[in-house]
Structures are given as C-alpha cells and as structure tokens.
Symmetry: C2
Subunit: 657 residues, 2 copies
C-alpha cells in the first residue's frame, strides 16, 4: 500500500475541490458542497483502499464505489478524471451538465465507465449497494475467493439515511451480515433546508448498530483517522458504517458549513477565497503535474492485483462459466429448454392461475439458468417465486438462490438493481402488483439504466377478491406502461406466462414486470407454437370463422372473458375475433403493417381489462367500448366483483349489439 502524508492527501483532495467548484461554476448549476466536504474521505479511499485499475474499468473483481449522494456527482467525475479513466477527460469535466456530456447532473449509469449505478434519487445508492454486496457474496460462494472477493463502498449523505428505503437496506444488510459492504456517511449536518437539526435528531450510529452493523466514527478531514476506520473495516464480520464528520463546502470562506454551499455555484469571490484558504493557487481546471501524477499512480495501483486475478481466471476450470455469467449471456440451451416446456404444456394445457404457471415456468428456468436469484417481499407462497430448485440465500449459505427480502418492497427492488448492475446474476423478485407503488422509484431506475431486473407481480386485479381496494390494483398496469423502457407483461395462461418469462430473461437491457393472477384461468393457447407470440405484444389468439364484425382486445385474465364473448357472438351470427395483448410496449415496436393487421377495421371495437381504460384508445379508438374499471375495487369474492363491476362476457356481447 502506498502511504501518503496527511498533507499530500489534503493536496490531492484539493484537486477534487477545485474541479468541483470550477465545474459547477462554469455550468452555473450543480452541487459543490458535498464534493468539497467529502474530498478527503474519497481521497483516502481511492488512494489507499479501493481495489481498482482505471485502465480496466470492467474488471469483474474490482471494488465497487457507489456515490449514493448522487447530487455530489462532481466528486465522482473528479475521481474518475484524476485516477485516469480514459473516457473521463478534462473536456467532459468542463462540460459538466451540458447536452451530450458524460458528466450529467447526477451520475448516469452507462454514460461513463466507473459509474456503477445511477444515483440522485436519495437512498437508492445505499440500497443498490446491498444488492451489489449480495451478488458478491453469492458469486464468491460459487467461484471462490480467487475470482470474487471485493468490497462495495458507499458514500451516503444525510438525505440517503433519512429516506425510508435506507432502513430497508440497512436492516437487510445487517441480517445478511454482508461483511464486504462499507458505508461512509458524509456526516455534514446540513441539508437543503438548513441544519439537519431542523428536521432530524436520529442517532445514526445507534440506528445502524440496532440492525447489526459495526460502526465507527472519524474526523472526515483527518486522513489518518479516515484510514484507520477503513483499515479496521477491512476485516469486519458484518457490514460497516463509518461516520465521517465533515464540513460541507470545506474551504469556502463564508459558505462552508452552511446549506449555501449545497446546491448552487459558489460564485467567483467565494471560489477565489476557497482557493486561498485551501492553498490551491492554480487556474480553473488546471491540475499541477505533481498532483496529477500522484492521482494517476493511485489509479493504476491495482494493476498488479488485476493481472494476478486475470491469471487465476485463465487457469480456473470455472473460467468459461464465470465469463458467461459476467457477460450476461444466457446458457446456450435456454431457448430449447423453453421450447420443450411449451411442448409439454401443449400436450396437456393446464388450467392455472398465472402465478402458478409462473412457478412452473420457474421450476424449468431455474434448473436451466443457474444465475437467477429469486425472492419475494414476504409473499413467497402467494407470489409463487420459490421454485423447487432454490435454497435460501442467507448469512449461513450465500450459495443459496432465494432471498427472503422481508416486508421491504422498495429495498428489494433497489437491491435487485444492484445485483443486475454487479453482473453475474439475474435477479427476480415478487410482491403484489398493487405494491409496485412501494418500489416505483427503483423500478423507474431499472428502466432508466436499462438493466435486466424482473418484477414478479401477482394478484394483478380485483380478481384477488376479499382483500379489497387497498390490495386491488386498478391503475397499476396503466401506470407501469407509462414508464419508458419498461416491459409490462400480462399473460393470459401458462403458455403466455412461459413466453413472457422467456422474453424477460432474454432482454438484457430492459426490466420487465410480469403481472400475474391470483385466480385460476382456462388455457387459451392450446396448440404448440414455436414462435414466441408474446414477442409481438399483441396477436390474434382466436380468429373469426368468417369476416369479423367484432374485434375484442384483452389481456391476462380477461382473455378468457373475451373468448367466452366470442363464442356467444359467433353463435349469434356476429363473427368475432379476439386479440391477446400481453405487452403494449412490444406491440408498439412492431412494424406498421403488422400493427394495422392486428388492429383491423371492425366497426365494433371492444377492449377488456380489469383496470382503467388509459392506454387502450390506441386499440379501440376513443369511441370504442372499454370494459374495465373506472374507480377503486371492493372487498368481496372475486367472481362477485367481476359481476359487480360488469367485467363479463355479457357486457361484451351487449357492446357489440
């Protein structure tokens, strides 16, 4: 380990401070306070502890650094630039927050290497980190210390710790004894509204300790103290919180220690004063050679470790499997496995709730795809997320593949994001569809980052019955469909469920939601089809015998109703065809000719979905008949609710009258 004097460390830290205040000033927008306050902590971490090699940002066994306090993005950009990440040029720093730059207002995953996750919405980063740390321990259990053994470091602010999601993350991490997770709390006592004491009096170290964390504290401007805490954390038997007492906007002569330095440019005078106070006598964006050299040396200090790791990988019998998993590619036989399963289904089409169909699909999938890690937010038996194959992943057995997430929907979703970002695993997890509301901020981030996270959301309508309106989603499918880059699937039977699972797993750059029923459904897809019809998003599932006069579009549990209506309409001399719509997103991606063919030109246009109308006008026009919900549900047996709210074959027959 290279040793730096406290003075050297502070001078290197000042490079971060200068770049941060200069970039924010040039952009006339941004947050100088955190980077200036946390610069010493970050410098000690990056120069002495973090295992990385800036020349190979994708090294699988690198330590991960997550800036949970994402508004302090200039801290991360400065670190990446100074340590020598090739794509984080000075030009990028100068273009902070400008159109097309890699240096967005908040760190955006995929914009530049070294950005491990998108942060900004507070609390997400620390909760992602729990997922990173789970993936690390799991892969360690499977591939050994030689290939996987790294830390996940988090820099979190007061905002992250006040968000409720942090409690879910902290308590889950403590329970799982994730000893490679280390959180550095930038304890600066300031938030946007002023002093933290305006709104909070929590003893944070006591709170973490209550969830089984090791805790320590240091002066966040004393490199020796910071290093001592980090050194002690290396060999903990549980996750570690290090409370780093810092001064926000450290160095700014009048704004340091105040909310005035949090989220606005400091202004030329204050910046000049800070340069003087810090002893940083250089022009904006200029880093003197000696400082840059020291930083670049820190950036390459992991090179030998990385080379040794690469040699171990090359010599490992598990090389191929490890490489495949980290690449995100599914096993070569995956499509064949699904095809075989679909053939089995065609032989004896089952009447099942789609949540049960999902469990059956998972029995097949989890046996064939060893990288899946399932789980549920305390609804395992209801979400049917635990296939035969899976053993619990817990502090006693990280090799397990099933996480009992507890009643922590938001924490589960954010942890799954972290697992997907870490790589090597494919996370899926369940709760009731109505509780997508609880994890919506993390679902949005799955979509924004374009990562493969699969949300298994059961009890997807009033069909759940007696639990009543608090548990009955009516607007949720519609509300999920408006999130960009999110695939929302609502399969109608076991075959569609298998197809939707296949699509969700194949799609490495998009998260998916599977909306599944509690109640049993008749099989609708009776003949084997080699093609994955759900990939089309919408397709004719029941053609008309003669030229159709009526078309009925439906999804999920309402396809059964549409098919029943068709039988009655056909018999009444009104030839009817039924289109199943498992995914509006996939349909929107089809070519115009296919869309036009599926949509047709029938005069009677009907859509049935046990939710709100929003989104269906594109299928039936604004004057078509929608059969669904217009308000909240009610508590009663499911069949009575369908009758009560008029979601029936009879209503469809009447509409075509």
């Amino acid at each position: 380990m290279t040793h730096y004097s406290a003075e050297q460390t502070r001078h290197m830290a000042n490079a971060i401070r200068a770049l941060s205040m200069d970039a924010v000033q040039k952009a006339n927008s941004g947050h100088p306070g955190l980077p200036m306050g946390a610069a010493d902590v970050a410098t000690v971490l990056f120069t002495q502890f973090l295992k990385f090699d800036a020349s190979d940002p994708h090294w699988a066994d690198r330590d991960r650094f997550i800036l949970s306090a994402g508004h302090g993005s200039m801290l991360l950009y400065s670190l990446l630039h100074l340590t020598g990440y090739a794509d984080m040029t000075l030009e990028q720093i100068r273009n902070f927050r400008q159109m097309g730059a890699k240096t967005a207002g908040h760190p955006e995953y995929g914009h530049a290497t070294g950005i491990e996750t998108t942060t900004g919405p507070l609390g997400q980063g620390i909760a992602n980190a729990v997922g990173f740390a789970i993936a690390e321990r799991h892969l360690n259990a499977e591939f050994g210390d030689g290939l996987v053994n790294h830390k996940t470091y988090v820099l979190a602010g007061d905002g992250c710790l006040m968000e409720g999601i942090s409690q879910e993350a902290i308590s889950l991490a403590g329970h799982l004894k994730l000893r490679n997770l280390i959180v550095l709390w930038d304890d600066n006592g300031i938030s946007i509204d002023g002093k933290i004491s305006l709104s909070d009096s929590t003893n944070q170290t006591a709170r973490f300790a209550a969830s089984g964390w090791a805790v320590s504290a240091c002066d966040g401007h004393n490199p020796g103290e910071i290093a001592a805490c980090l050194a002690a954390a290396q060999h903990a038997d549980r996750p570690v919180l290090i409370a780093c007492k810092t001064t926000i906007g450290y160095g700014a002569p009048t704004k340091a220690g105040t909310s005035g330095s949090h989220g606005s440019p400091l202004g030329p005078d204050e910046i000049a004063g800070a340069r003087k106070a810090l002893g940083w006598d250089y022009e904006p964006f200029v880093i003197p050679n000696d400082v840059m050299d020291a930083w670049r040396k820190a950036g390459s200090r992991g090179a030998a470790d990385r080379a040794a790791w690469a040699a171990r990988l090359a010599a490992s019998p598990k090389k191929e499997e490890f490489t495949r998993r980290m690449s995100g590619k599914l096993p070569a036989n995956f499509d064949a496995v699904i095809a075989g399963y679909k053939q089995d289904l065609a032989k004896n089409p089952p009447a099942l709730a789609t949540r049960n169909a999902s469990q059956n699909a998972l029995d097949v999938i989890n046996a064939a795809v060893p990288e899946t890690i399932g789980g549920s937010a305390d609804l395992t038996g209801s979400n049917n997320t635990k296939s035969k194959e899976l053993k619990p992943l817990d502090a006693h057995n990280y090799a397990g593949r099933y996480v009992y997430y507890g009643i922590r929907e938001h924490g589960m979703a954010a942890a799954m994001n972290g697992m997907a970002l870490h790589g090597g695993v494919i996370p899926y997890g369940g709760t009731f569809l109505v509780f997508t509301d609880y994890c919506r901020p993390s679902i949005r981030l799955s979509a924004l980052m374009g990562i493969r996270v699969i949300y298994v959301m059961t009890h997807d309508s009033i069909g759940l019955g007696e639990d009543g309106p608090t548990h009955q989603p009516v607007e949720h499918v519609a509300a999920l469909r408006v999130i960009p880059n999110l695939a929302v699937y609502r399969p109608c039977d076991a075959v569609e469920t298998a197809e939707c699972w296949q699509l969700a797993l194949q799609d490495a750059t998009r998260p998916s939601v599977l909306a599944l029923t509690r109640q049993k459904l008749k099989p609708a897809r009776l003949a084997y089809s080699a093609e994955n019809l759900c990939a089309r998003g919408a397709y004719e599932i029941a053609p008309a015998d003669k030229k159709a006069e009526v078309v009925i579009f439906a999804s999920g549990s309402e396809v059964e109703i549409a098919i029943a209506a068709k039988a009655r309409l056909d018999a009444a001399g009104k030839p009817t065809r039924v289109v199943s719509v498992p995914s509006m997103e996939n349909f929107a991606a089809q070519d115009k000719a296919y869309q036009a063919k599926v949509l047709g030109t029938e005069r009677h246009r009907i859509a049935i979905e046990a939710g709100v109308r929003t989104g269906w006008d594109r299928f039936i026009g604004t004057d078509g008949t929608f059969i669904g919900m217009t308000g909240f549900g009610a508590s009663a047996p499911a069949e009575q609710l369908y009758e009560h709210f008029g979601i029936t074959a009879e209503a469809a027959v009447k509409a075509a009258g």
Copy 2:
C-alpha cells in the same frame, strides 16, 4: 378507571378471538392470527386507557386508535362491535369481507365509524399516526388543553416496522417529541414467510430509542404488564414504543405461534381446539351476556369525559372557530379573498414560474385560512411552500404552521393523510414532481379515502434542466392521472395557479396534486374572470379570430408554446385556437355538450405536453399530433432540452402544415 382482573380481561379478550376466528372462517378468507395474538393488548387499551365514547364516534377530543397492521381488521371490527358502535352490528361481523359490508378485508375509512384511517398497505398506519399526533399538538397549542388533548395509539406489526416508511415516521415523530403518540408493537416474531428471523435481525427497541423514543416492553398476554406500560406512557415527554411480546393466533392448538395462523382460516378442528384451550364454550358469533355487558360498559366509560368536554366547548370563546375548523369548512370570505387576488393579478399579469406563483397564492391563502399547515420534504426554497405567514411547527412551537419534513417524501405524504383525517387542519406539502413516486402509496390512499391533502409538486418536466433524467418527470403526470379520485392540476400561469389552489382547497373529499414549473412562464390569462375556469378542466384560452382550422391543447408550461404557435399559424392564414387543459379529471366531469364544444372538430388536432402521450388521445384522437416526450430526459439547460426534444412552437406549426 374501572379495574378488571387479569382473568376478566382475558375472558373479554377471548370474545375478540372468537369473533375473529369465526368471521374469518365464515368468510373463508382473512387473517385470524393478529386479532387472536393482540386481543389482550387491545382489551387492556380499550377497557382501561383509550378515551372514547362509542355513542359519539366523532367526538373531536377522542383518543385515536389506528390499526396499522390492517390485515388484522377483525380485531378492530370486534372491538367496535363489542364496545357498542351502533353501525358495527353482529350482522356486519357475520358478513366480513362480503360485498357491501362495512367489514371489508382491510379497514376502510368511511365504511364504519371508529375506523380512523384505511390501513392494509403496511407502514401507512404508523405514519398516518404521526400526522394525527402533529394535528393534535397543533390544535392543542391553538385551542388549549380543555378542547384538544388526546392520545394517538397505534397497533403495529413487524411488517409495519420493516417497511421503510416506518423509519421516516419514527424519526420525524422522535424529532418532534410527539408525546401523545403511543405505538404498541405486536411483537409476535412471525410474518407470512415464516419466522421474522428468516428476514430480519433488527433490535427494534434500540432502533426506536435511536430516534428519541421512550421504549418499554411487556408480555402481551399479561394484562398487568400491559397496563403498567400503558400507564407509564401516559406522562412521557416523547413518543412511546411498547413492545408487546405476543403469540400469533394465541389459543389455536397447533397453529398458534406459526405463520399458519397469519392469513388463512384456521379450519373447524383448529377452531374447536382453540375454543377449548381458551375456555370459550359458546357457539360461533355468540357473546355471553356478562362479557357483552362488560364490553359495553367499557364502550361508554368515556361518556362523562365527553359531556364535560362538550360543556367546555359550549363555554369557550373559541367555540365557533373550533367547530368550523373541525367541520372542514373554509372561512366564509375565502372565495372573496381569491377573487381579490385574481383581480390584483389581472391589473399586472406577472411572468413567473408557477412554483413562484404558488408561493404568492399561498401568501394570500395562508393569511386567510388559518387551518393550513404547510411543509416540504427538504425543498422549501425550491417548492416555494413557505409563505411569509408561516412559522416552523416543531417541538418548541406546535403553534407553528410549517413542518420541515426532512428528506421523507413518503412519511410526509402519510403524515398529511393523518392530519387531514384528524381534522381541524388542511395539510399541504411539497417535493419535486418526480418524487411523487416516493410517496405514491400514500397519494393513492389519500384518493381512496377521499380526503383533502394537497401535494405541491414542483419542477414538473424537463424544464428543470441540468439535474437530468433522474429528476425530470416525463411519465409522472400521466401516472398520477390514472389514480381514481385524484385531481391533477397543471396550471399555465399565475391566474390558473390561483384557481387550482382554490379548487384544491374547496374540494374536501378529494386530494389534489399541483404540478408546477421551475422555469418562468409568460402570463396567459390577461383579463379578470370571475369564474374559476380551471374548474372546467379544459377551456379555450385563446380563441381563433375566424373559424379555426387548427386546435392546440396544452397544459402548464406548454400553453405558452401553444400560444406562440397560434400566432404563427394565424399569421400564416391558418386560424388556430388554443385550449388550456389544467385538469383532465375536471374536464371528464363536464357535460357532453361542453366537452364537445371544447374538443371541436378541427382537422388539425395537436396536443403539447412535456411528458408522455398517454391520456391525450381523448383530446386529439389516436391520429392527432402529440408533441411531447417518448423517453427519459437529459441533463442540459432547459431551453436546450425543449429544442432537443422538439417541444417547440415550430413543431406545432409544422404539424398543422
């Protein structure tokens, strides 16, 4: 205080157990475990401590009891029936979870008296309770001990405490030193998936203590211990947690203490065994007279207190104001105040961001409406929620009217629900619109309960600029519009902002979201209109000179763009009219003739909104032109983003070409 022997208490508690297991069995659906486990705790509370009078469920100074673990609804229904709430008949109990019954699967506010809030989504109740307790302390500060001095009791389960929202609630309550808040934790060590130890190892009492709560613990089946803890809690100087160690499904011979008793009927054999074990030798739904008499006595033991309170109110000089506030009626001059403000605006129409226009409106409103309590989740200066009038509401001054909620969007929203439910205050609170995702479960409950909570959501589009896609709502307005019974307002200038505030405040049975801009907008409403045009939801804001060939619909910041496009189209000989759409919900409530008139029949139909298209087809049809977003935003200055994403007057001109 009436004293009961431990034996008497247990026998009374067994009445709850019997009703609960019988009702769940008859419904063949529900959760017997919690009511049977928590029956002793609830019996001690209701017979010895809770201040209430079943004959007057709306008594303003009653203690509130909140069943945060809402799945245990039969506990509450049993208590209401046994203590003699007139509407909670045995017939209702027998119809548990049936269509039209007051006894829904989870307690639904408004279905029966004594249900103080809707619970079921876990963690909401405990967070509502913080709002109840804030309202209580605030009204106490204004109206004195004689009129307002009551407790808020919560019964919470492990699920409530694992949800992240509970941390926000706990830390806020501790910070505010809400000494009349008492949480009874039903510590039964069981959740749906099995033992809590599967998923959690948190030391809950240490966690609460870390946030400044007083904590104690008791055997939840020992009436003496329970009473001792409750007695000690009466005079605390901070919120109190009482950990009550219980056995879930207490009395069930084989299922007690297991997840098997949590969420399913026990079955006839197990019920028979429980009857035997409990010494409860009565038929289903039969309560022996002595037990019923004892319960009814408990239900009326507050009658004298209530009468004394009523006498104090009658004699109080504040009687009229207190009564008005608790009724939810606005001050008589409210409409005149708004009219005066609109007249002032018309004299000199300002160019303002609508968030600033909102602050100006609040300066007027908060001076005229003393029952408003504002706040923000740590974005006070950005949300512009603190008007001149308001002083902080904190532990030193409960008479204040502004809550620094901290970085706790979800906790804020749930607390606002509690404040609105308590009555006597009208809560509003702010964050960025994108973070409606963080509080969506509570927003949904505002809507489901039909209560007046006002969400002030600023930075409502890519117009927020450099903070980038994590902070830019693109789907949020659409996603809020699908929630039933929620008014979503997106005003276009200072006048519309005032009108939307007026509507939000007048609407006592519906929550409202105000989506407001960060960026400055030109005034669009230049002439004074006595009518509140936003009440119509959509209206012609700029008519065509001649018969229109083009119609442009827009909301909020895009109305300015629509008006600019109109000028160019008019000049090019294409007469154009512009319709402002501040609220799709209000427009949907207009009569067909008005709707048809506003929609018109122009060939060129254009809508502009800096969000996704969803919802606009009803205005422009599926073949109209929508100018807005199709994916996530980006980090850059706002004007550049509008250009980049093509949300411009030019695009509208082109579309009409």
